[in-house]
Symmetry: C2
Subunit: 106 residues, 2 copies
Amino acid sequence: MRNLLADLPDARGAECFETLLAGPGVRIERIVSRGQVTPEAAPFDQAHDEWVLLLAGAARLWLDGQGDVALAPGDCLSIPAGVRHRVTWTPEDRETVWLAVHFADH
Amino acid sequence: MRNLLADLPDARGAECFETLLAGPGVRIERIVSRGQVTPEAAPFDQAHDEWVLLLAGAARLWLDGQGDVALAPGDCLSIPAGVRHRVTWTPEDRETVWLAVHFADH
C-alpha cells in the first residue's frame, strides 16, 4: 500500500508524472505540480477521454468552450477527447496533486 | 464540475454508492461510509480487479493473505480479482469517502 499524498517528489523544477496502474483501456496517473502552467501556445489536445480529480493543493484549468475553472481538493471533471485544455495556475508555495484517469488510446 | 467531498449523502443508515463514470472496461465509483463494516461471513469476492483510494475519513480493510490494513486519506491499493476482502472498520462519527476503480467485467 502507498499514500499518494506522502513523500511527494520535488516538483519545483518540473511536474512529476507517475503511472500508478495501467490496464486494458485505462491508465491511472498521479501528477505533482508546483507552480507549473501549460504554455498558452501548446494546450493539451488528446485523442482519449480523461477524468481528473484534484487530491491536494489548488489549480486553475482552462477548457475550450468552458473557460477557466478553479479546482480545490475533491473537485473532479471529465475532459473529453479533443477538448483542448491547459493548466493556467498552480501555487508555487506548495504541491498540487492530481489523479488523472486516461481512457483507451494511451 | 463537482466535488467528491462536498454535499455528502447521509450514510448513517447505509453506505452510499455512486457511479461517477463508466466506460469500456472501467467504472469509477464513489463510496461514502459511516460506521459500516462488511459482515465477516460475507466478504467481497469479485471477478474483476479493483483499485481503491481513500479520499477522506479512515478505514480498516482486511485482505485475504495480507490481514488488516489501516487506511488514511491518500492511501491506495489494488485488490486483484478473487482476493476476498472486507471493510472491518469505518468511524461512526464522520464520513469516510472512497474512490473505487473497477476494471472490466462489471
